[in-house]
Symmetry: C2
Subunit: 308 residues, 2 copies
């Protein structure tokens, strides 16, 4: 069994490759919920949905989020009220949030509801939120203001300087059922090429997760989301710099060395293997830019211990 520590888009691409080389029933995805939000009374879990939509072939390839063939009638109608519509919810996407909210309201846990959604989308892997408890990533800005992750990421388009990140509720959160067991028992654990600060960070902040990974560090590998000093998507490069690391494979290694023994980096970073090794991680070089599914499959094979 392979366990994958996941954020959203990068993790979804990695998982789609992994599912080409490993049976769905052998994969457990443990997913960041620090990005979750409540909007218009609805419970929204962007990273969980990105993974489910993407793996089921339902995701919108153009936008990188939401569903393909989506319509926007509800959002357009919301304009009438002058309500904030910076977080775009498509009509079909809304159904997922309505269902999740209804089930949570009935007393189901987030991991139960997620399993139902995964099954409704015809998927066979396990997709597990990091915790059934509420953990919320809060981002302190250079302006002095502290905002939610989605305000930072979507509303402000991450075009602001960050001074600190914290995971509200994390200290009191319990890992969701099966999370520590999967991370402990998996043949290999892979930390997906997601933002180490705000996607992997919240998962590591859940009590017990960091310890179980540290204890089996030798068989945990991570895929660097930083290639040639830049994030492929999102603000991972700037966040690393702003929080005192460097936007490089060395910076990623420094961030993850406590929980993973191997860092998989792109060929573009072949010259930086030494930076990784000086953080007490072994470094594997391969193609990590998943421009198509066969690259993703080869990357997955390498990440779970195959030859590059």
């Amino acid at each position: 069994m392979i366990a994958v520590v996941c954020g959203g888009v990068g993790a979804a691409r990695f998982l789609s490759g992994l599912l080409d080389v490993v049976e769905q029933s052998e994969v457990v995805a443990i997913v960041n919920t620090g990005d979750d939000l409540e909007l218009y009374g609805l419970s929204i879990s962007p990273d969980l949905d990105t993974i489910v939509y993407s793996l089921s072939g339902s995701s919108n390839a153009e936008t990188g989020w939401g569903l393909s063939g989506e319509t926007w009638a509800a959002m357009e109608a919301l304009d009438r009220f002058g309500a904030p519509t910076w977080f775009r919810l498509g009509d079909r996407d809304l159904a997922t949030h309505l269902y999740r909210t209804a089930r949570l309201g009935e007393g189901a846990t987030l991991s139960q509801v997620t399993a139902e959604i995964v099954s409704a989308f015809g998927l066979g892997l396990a997709v597990v939120p990091m915790s059934d408890d509420k953990v919320r990533t809060r981002v302190a800005l250079a302006s002095g203001e502290e905002v939610s992750f989605q305000e930072y990421f979507v509303k402000l388009a991450h075009a602001v300087r960050v001074t600190a990140v914290r995971f509200e509720g994390s200290a009191m959160a319990a890992p969701a059922p099966g999370v520590l067991e999967a991370l402990g028992a998996a043949e290999r654990v892979v930390i997906a090429p997601s933002n180490p600060v705000v996607s992997i960070g919240p998962v590591l902040s859940v009590p017990g997760v960091r310890d179980v990974l540290a204890a089996r560090r030798a068989t945990v590998s991570a895929v660097s989301p930083i290639v040639a000093g830049a994030a492929l998507k999102g603000p991972a490069d700037r966040l690393l710099e702003e929080l005192g690391a460097t936007a490089s494979v060395g910076g990623v290694a420094k961030w993850l060395t406590g929980v993973a023994a191997t860092l998989v980096v792109d060929r573009a970073d072949e010259g930086r293997v030494g930076e990784v090794e000086s953080e007490q991680m072994s470094c594997v070089v391969t193609d990590t830019v998943m421009r198509n599914r066969s690259v993703a499959a080869r990357l997955a094979e390498v990440a779970i211990g195959g030859t590059p």
Copy 2:
């Protein structure tokens, strides 16, 4: 100023006629919220929305509820989850519920949110929920089961026998700000041609409402929703019979005589004027079947004291 005690569709038609003969700024609609429900975490107020959609020319004339030109992408997507979809929510209609839910979550009252929605739809009359507190119409069935109003009305298509109706939360509910004032100060009060049991009944059950109407009964008129022994729409006729009254203008008069001195009935009931009068109500005969707006306008004129 004219105050109108309202349910949904019948009241909306009556109001559209009234607004042809009275300035919008002179009309206060006091609306049943016993039909309200929470679904998928959303706060839904069917009668309030029916009135706003209808008066703003946005309502769906075919279905008699919801918005015209509506799409159903969210509902269709909900099918995937096997979620109950008997209460149909169109994509654009969802926006109203999302907005209402968001504002209530921020601490706004239902009457504040309703005023915002009324204004967003470009209307100038006052539309006021009977109470900002939660009152829920519960329907006891001959089967022994008790269901919510919407389960009775929509899910069971009111094709079941009813033994009792109660308005849960009503005894502790306060009338919304302005309700008793409007009912007390209005030049005329009209009880719209809505279901006397489950549309007008909840409004009358709010503490203070019945008393203020009884005290000024002489200038309160009601329009009978029963014509020639049958309800024009919905189960008013059966409910009256099931709850021990008769499905006739006489039955309506018996139901409302404590709070109104005049009953406006259709020409089809000309022969039943005596039944009304024997309930200590004066009876006015005119066209009450609002097949178009000019009939509605003439009816409104009669109801507020004009000549039939």
